[in-house]
Symmetry: C2
DNA sequence: GGTAATTTCGAAAACGTTTTCGATAACGAT
DNA sequence: ATCGTTATCGAAAACGTTTTCGAAATTACC
């Protein structure tokens, strides 16, 4: 049961390979009669073109690469979802790699994808990423490239982001409106731009409301885990028992905080209000239901692929490509952890 | 900045393409002197072989396809994690597609992957899958193939599974040991083999303990969601207020049940004990912490790829391949939803 | 110096497709 | 019958690599 090729079809029909190829691709210069014959035979033999040969000839594989810090993560798996959905609609397949937040791995994977000659790369930076030579390498080779969420502002490429600073500002503003006077912040790691921006948004909201900024009230995550949430919850309760509001970098950590407060009997939202970030599915399942900032993760995936496709297509026609940045809207979602009904 | 090819290296060095190729691939019949020259030039030009050409020539792409019902799912994203980890270790990349539990999509995707000529396919069936012509097509074309978790017992291929019946049996046995006399079961959809097996395990445990089976105590999920958990929790509380134990098809649904019980003030585990399935990360975060059955999802991914690689390699050497089934161990994890400490 | 063995190299085919361009055939118009 | 036009086809090159097989060059041996 060997693979069917154009050659075999041509031979059994007594015509040339060229004509068979043309018939299958709806070229105008083949008679209806022979076209019909070719189509029928191809159908009955269930011919499918050898994609390896097509790739070589056309110099494209209709495959893109996706590098993310981790697959097992509510936010990222939703983005993946959006990307592979939109990609499939457009006849593209997606190769997924995860950097496990390691810069070294990330570099290797970028190289791997370029060797594979994917048609484009979508990527969210690992937390370690500050050296970006490997990223510039992508641009140098003119491989279509889009970054989302964790981006580097220095790289001139298309991006899909949210306005982290504004979103964080709104979250803290929400706490203040609910009456909070002393607000702590559990922030993300040092490097990632969005951790920085959310911190800046927190700071700005305090300033605009005449609340003095106190660096002692800022706690920095290393791994952004549930366990860190537990630990920081404990630390805050001990070090600053008068804190009445906490803005947390992401829902997962916020859930850890809530879990600790539940355990020690600290009342949320009566004694302290908590707001997270991301609108993780789980945040409306726990008690108390967690207020949060909705971040359109699926849509982020969709838009990322669309931008990439745009770049792929304009470059295919040898036109110059102008990178674009898409900023998606966020919104504060009020639940039980910041208001009692 | 065009791509570097063997031809270019050969021309600048004044030797043949053949020799360049051999030098780069450590063939014995090339002198140390020319090898050195080739290696150095290749290095300085940062030559990388055109994988499209290599694919065509070697008839393999070092890429595999993975079809799963949904990416955004704790169990599946962990399996994905295991697969792409192990694949990368062995120099393989992974194309991921999701069937969204639709048989029609699943069929299309199988075809897509075969057209792409991936070196192998790993797959977990969608809930709709009962017609398996598309699966048999994979075997007919002798594409290496592994199924995991949601499998079809009728297909002769390698599989990675758990013993769902035994695991369910142990879960129900656990409830009985904790004193439950009237045990309900929220089961999965009708088709999937593992939903059937877990149901059988439930039944068997009742029988062996002299508890009469009552089909009225069995509730069938359609979509296996948190919302269904809420709904069935409500239904059970109304229809059978004397139920004192519930075995739920998966943690997500069980969490829904707990959420409803929390809401109406039904005490878990005092009035009713609940045990889930999968050991979802979230199950130890909610109150009360959910007892469950641990299912080694990451390991399932690793083993799936290993089996696939085994098949790829033996088939590459034209040896006959004997499918194998790997059964991974599960264990009951006791938490607060079945015992008070 | 002659023969045999060993190194070292390269021509060429093959993988299967796409596409250009020229050739042939068919047809209509005069 | 001649010319121009159009419809239909196929030869061949190209994509870049791998590998076989034979040729040439070098070395070893007596």
């Amino acid at each position: 049961m060997r693979d069917i090729t154009l050659k075999q079809i041509a031979e059994t029909l007594g015509i040339s390979i060229t004509t068979v190829s043309k018939a299958l691709k709806d070229y105008p210069d083949v008679s209806p009669k022979t076209r019909k014959a070719v189509l029928e035979l191809a159908q009955s033999l269930s011919y499918t073109p050898n994609s390896f040969a097509v790739n070589l000839r056309t110099k494209e594989s209709r495959t893109i690469g996706l590098i993310i810090p981790e697959v097992v993560h509510h936010f990222f798996s939703n983005v993946i979802n959006g990307i592979i959905d939109e990609a499939e609609k457009n006849g593209y397949l997606v190769i997924i790699l995860q950097s496990n937040e390691s810069l070294e791995l990330e570099k290797k994977q970028v190289e791997l994808l370029m060797q594979k000659r994917v048609d484009g790369i979508i990527m969210s930076l690992s937390n370690e990423s500050n050296d970006d030579e490997h990223i510039r390498d992508i641009l140098r080779k003119e491989v279509p490239f889009v970054m989302f969420d964790k981006i580097s502002k220095l790289i001139p490429c298309s991006k899909v982001i949210i306005n982290d600073q504004k979103a964080a500002f709104n979250a803290v503003q929400h706490l203040i409106q609910k009456g909070c006077k002393k607000i702590a912040h559990i922030r993300g790691p040092v490097n990632p731009q969005n951790a920085i921006d959310r911190f800046l948004g927190y700071k700005k909201a305090l300033e605009q409301n005449g609340i003095p900024f106190d660096s002692k009230l800022v706690y920095t995550c290393k791994n952004v885990t549930f366990e860190e949430g537990l630990a920081f919850g404990k630390q805050i309760a001990i070090e600053h028992p008068d804190v009445d509001g906490i803005f947390v970098i992401t829902d997962l950590v916020a859930v850890g905080v809530l879990a600790h407060f539940n355990e020690i009997g600290l009342k949320v939202p009566e004694q302290v209000k908590v707001i997270g970030f991301s609108n993780w599915f789980m945040s409306q399942v726990i008690t108390p239901k967690l207020s949060t900032v909705d971040q359109p993760s699926f849509e982020m995936g969709v838009q990322s692929f669309k931008l990439l496709l745009e770049e792929i297509n304009t470059k295919k026609e040898l036109h110059p490509f102008q990178p674009r940045t898409i900023e998606l809207e966020t919104s504060v979602i009020e639940r039980d952890s910041t208001s009692k009904n």
